[in-house]
């Protein structure tokens, strides 16, 4: 699994599972280019994934004299590899601490450390590695923030000036909710939403709105979170004038133009949002990285007992990722992220790295929440702890359910 090669600069380079962890021409320069951009100067404590040949650790120790590095090993072989083929002097440096299996960090405050997770390592460790899913989640979030950080800040600053309502905690328990996403299975299950739309609170993600409207279903609320202008194609504010939940960093143009009632949501792990929420005693939601995961956090906050996922496929047959009419419908050609998962129907389906991280989030949420969550997508990915519900069982669940009552919303929605 590990392979040492001599680079063109005569320094060693390293491959893991057939993928380069450093350049085969100039490994030190490669690491310097990555870290010079990655490191934020205010940090002097680092949590670094992988020791390898020690190039990352060496760069940080040389550059930041007061630094302290905690290393998460991919495997214990790394210490020998570094000692025999790499920058073995870093192993003698007292500023470098190799974490044991329990990640015992001697009571260090992890929130004050910069987490450095080189993408190459995440891709190379392989899906079978016990840290793979966790690292994929972390890396996906880091890359998304890197890509959209400026835009998120701009949106946040403009959105909070709108003075929209937010939500507050009450103990009012609610019944059933449909969380509608835009996966291809929505085309097959939308008839159930139509048939039982008066029995459950319908929360649609922005990209599923068009599919619902084309089928003459008006959701009780729509939720959006995308910071980019892609959202302008997903959310048709001309046709929909109902309740809109939006993440504080969602695209400002879309939020601003919505004519109906708007409710701003604040997310955890985003500094501006956390400060603002604290100031106004607004709750913080776990976004989970996608609008559907944010929506489930919201439904949990609103005390729903049962949630039925629609169009939550987290994978796709062939190259089709979204339902007909969905604003996100694309054919995924030559994807570099393509992976495979088992579907609820037992077949293997294609998926992407980001979908795998969302699946992991749903699985963890299903363990910790009091909500009962069901998945209506037969062709979608099997999500652990969220059972597939057949049409027959679904109809049985709803056979004696009273009509929905939306008056609870008033108790949750507050002006800032």
């Amino acid at each position: 699994m590990w392979k040492i090669e001599k680079s063109k600069t005569k320094k060693n380079t390293l491959l893991l599972n057939g993928r380069y962890l450093y350049s085969r021409y100039d490994p030190e320069s490669d690491v310097a280019k990555f870290l010079s951009k990655e490191i934020k100067n205010e940090n002097n404590k680092f949590l670094l994934l992988g020791l390898g040949l020690g190039y990352h650790a060496k760069y940080i120790l040389d550059k930041f004299k007061n630094s302290k590095i905690f290393i998460i090993l991919i495997s214990t072989d790394e210490i020998n590899i570094c000692e025999q083929h790499g920058m073995k002097e870093v192993l003698d440096d007292k500023r470098l601490i190799i974490l044991n299996k329990n990640f015992n960090m001697l009571q260090e405050d992890i929130s004050k450390m910069q987490l450095i997770v080189p993408l190459a390592w995440v891709k190379a460790i392989g899906m079978e590695h016990p840290l793979y899913v966790l690292l994929e989640v972390i890396k996906t979030n880091q890359l998304s923030f890197k890509e959209q950080g400026f835009l998120m800040k701009e949106n946040f600053e403009s959105n909070v000036k709108l003075g929209d309502s937010t939500i507050s905690k009450t103990n009012v328990a609610n019944g059933r909710a449909f969380l509608v996403s835009a996966g291809p299975s929505l085309d097959l299950t939308i008839k159930l939403i139509k048939q039982y739309n008066n029995k459950a609170f319908i929360l649609s993600v922005g990209s599923a709105l068009q599919t619902l409207l084309k089928n003459n279903i008006i959701p009780d609320a729509v939720i959006i979170s995308d910071a980019t202008s892609r959202l302008t194609n997903q959310f048709n504010y001309k046709e929909y004038k109902g309740l809109l939940f939006y993440l504080s960093t969602a695209n400002h143009e879309v939020v601003k133009n919505h004519a109906g009632l708007k409710v701003i949501l604040f997310q955890q792990n985003y500094n501006l949002s956390e400060k603002f929420a604290e100031m106004y005693s607004a709750p913080l939601l776990d976004t989970g990285g996608s609008v559907a995961t944010l929506a489930l956090s919201l439904l949990e906050f609103l005390n729903f007992n049962e949630v039925y996922l629609f169009g939550q496929d987290l994978g796709f047959e062939h190259n089709r990722t979204h339902a007909t009419h969905s604003a996100s419908n694309t054919s995924l050609i030559n994807s570099i992220n393509q992976k495979h998962l088992i579907a609820n129907n037992g077949e293997m389906i294609n998926t992407r790295s980001d979908f795998i991280t969302f699946k992991y989030w749903f699985e963890q949420k299903a363990i910790t929440t009091n909500m009962k969550i069901y998945n209506t997508s037969y062709m979608g990915a099997k999500i652990k702890n969220i059972p597939y519900i057949s049409q027959q069982l679904f109809e049985f669940h709803f056979s004696k359910v009273p009509q929905k009552d939306l008056s609870f919303l008033e108790k949750y929605i507050n002006t800032l």
Binding site: K8, G18, R19, Y20, L21, Y22, S23, R24, Y25, D30, K33, F34, K37, E38, P118, L119, A120, K123, A124, L143, K146, E147, I336, N337
Partner: protein, 114 residues
């Protein structure tokens, strides 16, 4: 006719001249983990190579010999594709920085026709 050929040669030369800077930029994006920009630039580069191939063929038919050996670039493109498939972005960055940029730096300009 010569005017058209000369305009094409000039465009060809101009484009070849900016390729090394572009490929170094791709490598930088990859090493800094800026994947959206890197992948968009790789797509643009691939389209650029197709354009060079078409122009080389068209100029050849007009009697203008182009010595640029684009076959080597096609081999690099295959290696890049394989690297992208397994998400080995360091390998891909290396090809752009140390192979393709170097290849295009040494390309001699095509002389315009009289």
């Amino acid at each position: 006719m010569n005017q058209l050929i000369n305009d094409t040669i000039n465009s060809f030369n101009e484009y070849v001249k900016i390729i090394p800077g572009g490929t170094l930029e791709i490598s930088k994006f990859l090493r800094e983990e800026n994947l959206p920009l890197a992948l968009q630039s790789i797509k643009d580069f691939t389209e650029g190579v197709i354009w060079l191939t078409d122009v080389k063929e068209a100029l050849g038919k007009s009697g203008v010999e182009v010595e640029l050996e684009l076959e080597s670039i096609h081999d690099f493109l295959i290696e890049i594709n394989e690297g992208l498939e397994i998400q080995d972005f360091i390998l891909v960055a290396d090809i752009f920085e140390y192979e393709i940029a170097t290849f295009f730096k040494d390309v001699a300009e095509i002389q315009t026709v009289c």
